[in-house]
């Protein structure tokens, strides 16, 4: 059984095929070991594919990064790199970035934090959401979001900017904090969201989404 009769095939073709194979196998050392890509170049080439060039992502699957707090970005990239943050989407999309150097992380954090802050993702007001954001639900032990995330949801250091973030993304993260240990650095959020009902989580997320920059 001669599965592939090579005898009558013209030789230059095999040479080309061999070259292709060699090219693919190539050197196995990673590019990052020889010349790490600058943060901005990475943002352009890779991050922008999901998060948008300026961090205004289109799909709510991917959080907006535009004007995000620099410290928060550094910590999240570090946690993705080291696999400390293990929420499902983070694992699926971000766990590959194990080769990020500290310089690249700093450059990426610089780049996105210096972009114009994320635009509002919704414009319909949500009174319940505003109540939770500004005054919390003291009877249930839900502290006001603004106490850590800022009066305008702009964030502060390790506490991320929320204003203008995709509501769907924020709801997902609230669920991650409530129900899992997948974001250990955000352990404080576990206490905060402990008594937050699904309906209230949606309300507050929709409200915060309206706090973004005007389009």
């Amino acid at each position: 059984m001669d599965a592939m009769d090579m005898k009558s095939t013209f030789k230059p073709s095999h040479l080309i095929l061999a070259l292709c194979v060699t090219a693919f196998m190539g050197c196995t050392s990673t590019n990052e070991e020889t010349s790490p890509m600058a943060g901005i170049a990475m943002a352009d080439k890779v991050c922008s594919m999901c998060h948008g060039l300026t961090g205004e992502s289109i799909s709510p699957m991917f959080p907006k990064l535009a004007g995000q707090q620099k410290d928060y970005l550094k910590l999240q990239l570090t946690d993705f790199k080291g696999h400390q943050r293990s929420d499902k989407a983070g694992t699926q999309y971000m766990w590959g970035f194990t080769h990020l150097t500290e310089t690249q992380i700093a450059e990426l954090a610089d780049y996105f934090s210096s972009q114009s802050p994320m635009k509002a993702d919704a414009d319909t007001p949500d009174a319940r959401g505003e109540l939770i954001f500004r005054t919390g639900l003291p009877e249930s032990g839900v502290v006001p979001c603004s106490s850590c995330h800022g009066a305008d949801g702009q964030g502060n250091g390790q506490f991320p900017r929320l204003a203008g973030q995709h509501a769907y993304y924020m709801i997902r993260q609230i669920k991650v904090f409530q129900e899992t240990e997948q974001r250990p650095r955000g352990a404080i959020m576990k206490q905060v969201t402990h008594s937050l009902s699904d309906a209230d989580a949606e309300s507050v997320a929709h409200y915060i989404a309206t706090l973004g920059a005007k389009k």
């Binding site: 059984m1 599965a3 592939m4 009769d5 009558s8 095939t9 013209f10 230059p12 073709s13 095999h14 080309i16 095929l17 292709c20 194979v21 090219a23 693919f24 196998m25 190539g26 050197c27 196995t28 990673t30 590019n31 990052e32 352009d44 080439k45 890779v46 922008s48 594919m49 999901c50 060039l53 300026t54 289109i58 799909s59 709510p60 699957m61 696999h83 499902k88 989407a89 694992t91 699926q92 999309y93 766990w95 590959g96 970035f97 194990t98 080769h99 769907y168 997902r172």
Partner: protein, 465 residues
């Protein structure tokens, strides 16, 4: 692959729940394969290894080969995201075909190996990044049951499958986003990034040995030149909105025969299709993305002249060619927001045929091929799809000799349910339901065979690693 604990043993659960013992040696082999692959669940198809990302990052709802917007960008920028790493990957397809009425009316059967579980075919892939601007995808496929020899023994076959090597680059800033590239490939539309064009269009797997695994007539661009041609083309994707491509195809012979391995002139079972000169292919697409949704509308066209073959399957020069002019319109829609994925594709190809060799068609002919498919996947694990195919065209006694009224007209519905117990294993059950076949619903062949006799059940297991 960063597989969570409960997923590593998914394969064990699958193996346990599939009662393979009645299927004999093949069944045991399949079960063992599952156990082996359960152990090596860390292994990744090469793109996933290169990027460190899960399959769903690039594949809509986990439905490889359907691409997400990110997957499309990965391909358009030359498969270069991530680090250069082991480019080898492989896949195996085991399947079962059940032809509703497999009797030819004369005591014989129509579909060989019907109602048998088979390890049908497998492929090896070389794929991924070569440099920051060059990357590609090369597939070679081994079919266990290619044809039967004179003694009735089955003979296997190894040959080229899809191939796409690219140089691509991207310039992006706040005012514009331009991706451009050149491609060397061996199958018109293999280089396309939407799943509405033939090469990566539904169905992704279908019966190979079953006689009714698909519609009996299709336009040339719907697979007729796969692995027969060498195409060199250039494309540009502007502002993630407008895609333009021009590619020229010629016979994949001599220097290009590495693109058509396993096919050669004069071969009894895999003669190389020879083109007269080169054939232009053009593709235009407009895309828009908003929220979790994205849409594409496009068009494509190809003119090809195919040389006739003599009785020994050698190309004949100087006696004209069969000319095919294919014009296609297509569209795709996706809604991708975990845990839901909904994707739909539609295409319509209009073909005009002029057979100057008078060997394939009696006269000028036309064929229209319409396909539409919608699928929904929950949690990238549980999915269902429904496809509809409608082929119609001019009647021709030479081209459609099996039809009592010499007509290609066929209508087929294909519902499918599928399950991805692991992200790189798809198990599915497909059913081809014919309401019309080669010109009629009843007695289409003049010997009493009805379209519904050709209904085909197809169960498959598709594993990539």
């Amino acid at each position: 692959m960063y597989v969570k604990d409960n997923e590593e043993c998914g394969a064990k659960a699958v193996a346990g729940s599939f009662h393979f013992w009645p299927f004999g040696r093949t069944g045991i082999l399949l079960w063992l394969l599952f156990l082996v692959f359960c152990q090596s669940a860390q292994a990744l198809p090469s793109f996933a290894r290169q990027t460190g990302q899960s399959c769903v990052a690039c594949h809509a709802g986990g439905q490889f080969p359907e691409l997400t917007p990110y997957g499309r960008l990965f391909k358009l920028t030359g498969y270069t995201n991530g680090v250069q790493t082991n480019p080898l990957a492989a896949m195996i397809v085991g399947d079962y075909t059940g032809t509703r009425n497999n009797s030819d009316g004369a005591g014989g059967s129509i579909s060989p190996k019907d109602k048998q579980m088979l390890i049908d075919y497998s492929s090896v892939f070389l794929g991924g990044k070569i440099t920051d601007v060059i990357g590609g995808f090369a597939q070679f496929t081994y079919s266990s049951y290619d044809h039967q020899d004179a003694s009735g023994n089955w003979v296997s076959h190894l040959g080229s499958d899809n191939f796409d090597l690219r140089y691509a680059d991207r310039k992006v800033d706040t005012s514009r986003d331009v991706i451009w590239g050149v491609t060397l490939n061996n199958n018109p539309t293999v280089q396309d990034v939407w799943n509405s064009t033939p090469a990566w269009g539904y169905p992704y797997v279908s019966s190979t040995l079953g006689a009714f695994g698909g519609a009996p007539a299709s336009t040339l661009i719907e697979g007729g030149l796969a692995q027969q041609v060498a195409g060199i083309g250039a494309y540009v994707y502007l502002n993630k909105s407008l895609y333009l491509e021009l590619t020229s195809y010629q016979t994949a012979k001599d220097t290009w025969s590495f693109l058509s391995l396993g096919n050669k002139k004069g071969d009894t079972y895999h003669p190389l299709t020879y083109m007269d000169g080169s054939s232009p292919y053009a593709r235009l697409a407009y895309t828009y993305e908003w929220g979790a949704q994205n849409v594409m509308v496009g068009a494509f066209a190809m003119n090809a002249k195919i040389l006739p073959m003599d009785d020994s399957n050698n190309p004949v020069y100087g006696q004209g060619s069969t000319e095919y002019r294919d014009t296609g319109f297509d569209a795709q829609y996706q809604y991708l927001l975990d845990p839901h994925a909904f994707t739909a594709q539609i295409r319509y190809v209009k073909e005009e045929i002029r057979d100057h060799t008078q060997t394939l068609y009696d006269g000028p002919a036309s064929l229209r091929s319409f396909k539409v498919k919608g699928s929904y996947v929950y949690l990238a694990k549980y999915g269902a799809s429904l496809a509809y195919s409608n082929v119609n065209g001019s009647s021709d006694a030479t081209a459609y000799a099996d039809s009592a009224n010499f007509s290609p007209d066929t209508q087929m519905w294909t519902p499918e349910v599928f399950w991805l117990p692991m992200q790189n294993l798809r198990v599915g059950l497909q059913y081809n339901y014919f309401t019309r076949y080669l010109g009629a619903s009843n007695n289409y062949d003049g010997n009493g065979r009805n379209a519904s006799d050709n209904d085909t059940t197809y169960l498959y297991m598709w594993y990539a690693f």
